[in-house]
C-alpha cells in the first residue's frame, strides 16, 4: 500500500489503469479482487484505508502480501499468493465464504475479462478448444456482487477488441458488468451501451473507439483523464 494517498503520476499504462481502478473503492466497502490484474489494486490503496478485502478461499480482511521467507503455509488468497491477516480478520470455510457472496455482502468485485459486451455480459473463464480450466468462483462473484467492474487491457495480444457488441465466448454472467477499466479508458455499461467516462492521458476518444468492437457513446463536453 502507498503512503496515505491514492497513487498519482503512474507512468506505465497498465499500472495507471490499476491505480485508477483503486479509486473505485470507497471507504467501508467489502471488496473481492479477482485473480491477476485486479489483485494488484491492493498496491495502490492508501495505507490504513478502511476496506475489508474478501478472498473466496475463506478470509475477510486481507493484509499485505508476504515474501517467501515470511509466508504462513496455511494462509493464501484465491490466487495462491501468501497474504497476512489484519487486526479484525476472520477465517471461514468455503460454504460460508460463498454465503457471503451470494447473499449480497460484497459491495464490489473487480474481475479480469476475455470479453465484455455492451450489455454487461462477461466472458472470462473459457476459450473452447484452447483453455477450459473451470470458472472457480467467478460465476458467483460476477452474478452476486452489488457492483461488478472489470479490469482488462482494451485489446487482446493481437490487437483485437475485448469490448464487443456481443460476447463470442461462453459467458460467466449475463448483464452484470457496470464499469470497465482499461489501459486506454474508463467505460461504463449503460442502457444505451458503452459510454466513455475517462481517457488515459495521451489517448484520444477516436483511438478508444477504434479499439472498441461496439459503439462508444461520448459525454458532452470535456472528457476527464487519468
Amino acid at each position: 500500500m502507498s503512503d496515505g494517498n491514492f497513487s498519482e503520476n503512474v507512468q506505465d499504462p497498465r499500472a495507471r489503469m490499476v491505480a485508477r481502478a483503486a479509486r473505485e473503492i470507497a471507504p467501508g466497502m467489502v471488496v473481492n479482487l479477482g485473480i491477476g490484474l485486479p489483485t494488484k489494486v491492493i498496491d495502490h490503496l492508501p495505507e490504513g484505508f478502511p476496506v475489508c478485502l474478501h478472498t473466496e478461499n475463506g478470509m475477510a480482511g486481507i493484509g499485505p502480501t508476504l515474501p517467501y521467507e515470511a509466508a504462513d503455509r496455511n494462509l493464501i488468497d484465491a490466487g495462491g499468493a501468501y497474504v497476512s491477516p489484519l487486526p479484525g480478520t476472520s477465517y471461514f470455510d468455503s460454504a460460508v465464504s460463498f454465503a457471503l457472496v451470494r447473499s449480497g455482502r460484497l459491495d464490489l468485485t473487480m474481475l479480469g475479462a476475455f470479453e465484455v459486451a455492451e450489455s454487461g455480459d462477461l466472458a472470462n473463464w473459457k476459450i473452447p478448444g484452447k483453455f477450459s480450466p473451470g470458472a472457480g468462483g467467478a460465476i458467483e462473484l460476477a452474478q452476486k456482487a452489488r457492483r461488478v467492474v472489470v479490469l482488462t487491457t482494451h485489446t487482446d495480444r493481437k490487437g483485437n477488441p475485448k469490448l464487443l457488441r456481443q460476447c463470442t465466448l461462453p459467458l460467466t454472467a449475463r448483464g452484470h458488468v457496470a464499469r470497465i477499466f482499461t489501459d486506454m479508458a474508463v467505460v461504463d455499461v449503460t442502457p444505451r451501451g458503452f459510454a466513455l467516462v475517462e481517457l488515459a492521458s495521451g489517448t484520444t476518444a477516436k483511438e478508444v473507439q477504434e479499439a472498441t468492437g461496439a459503439t462508444l457513446h461520448l459525454p458532452a463536453g470535456d472528457i476527464p483523464t487519468f
Partner: protein
Amino acid sequence: MSLPDKTTTMEEAVAAIPDGAVVMLGGFGVPGTPFTLIHELVRQGKRDLTVIKNDANEAGMGVDHLIVAGLMRKLIVTHLGLNANAIAAMNEGRIKVELCAQGILAERIRAGGAGLQAILTDIGLETELAEGKQVIEMAGKRLLVEPAIRADVALIHADCADPFGNLTYLATARNFNPPMAMAAERVIVETERLVPLGGISPDAVETPGVFVDHICPLTQISEEYGVVRR
C-alpha cells in the same frame, strides 16, 4: 462415561476404501490438502476413483499423484488451471471432468452433510454450466436444481483433533474441509496435532467428532505442505 477413541493408522483407515469409491478431498491449493492420505491412496493403489475437490493442485502435488498413477476415473472440480497434467488428462479423455461453480460445489456438499436432497439456485443460469440441469419455477423465478453431494469417503486435513474426532483448522486451510467432513459415509482425518479428550474447548470445536470416523495423527509434515516458492 467417556467418548470413544477413533485413532488408527493411516494404512488401516485407507485400506477400508473400496476401488471405485467416490472420494472427497479437502484443500484449496496447498492449504488443507490431505497430502499424506492421498499418498496412502496411491500407495495402496485404489482404482477407478471419482474425486471431488476444489482444484487439481499443481503438477507433482496432491491430487496430481492420483492422475499420474491412473487411479482417477472422474474429477468433480471448480478449477484445474494450475495443473497442466490434469488439463492434458482431461483433453485426452483419460479422466472425465465435471466443472462446478465453486460456492455451488461447497453448498451441494454442505447440503449433503445436512441430509438435504438438493439446493435451488440462480447461479449459473444463462451459462453453459446450466446445460442439462433441471430447472424449476418458484415464486416467478427460474431456478436450477443442484443435487446434494455425498461421498463414500472424505479425506480431511485438520490442524488439531482429539481422539473422538473433534476438529479445528487453521486460517485458509479450512476451505472445503469442514463441509466435506460432514458429507461422507466414512470420514478419515489426518491431523497435525492430536490432543487428549478435553484438549479442545467444546466452544472451539469446528467439526464435531460425531461426524468423524477415523483420526490419523501425522508423524511428519512433508515438503508438500510447505510454502511454495514462486
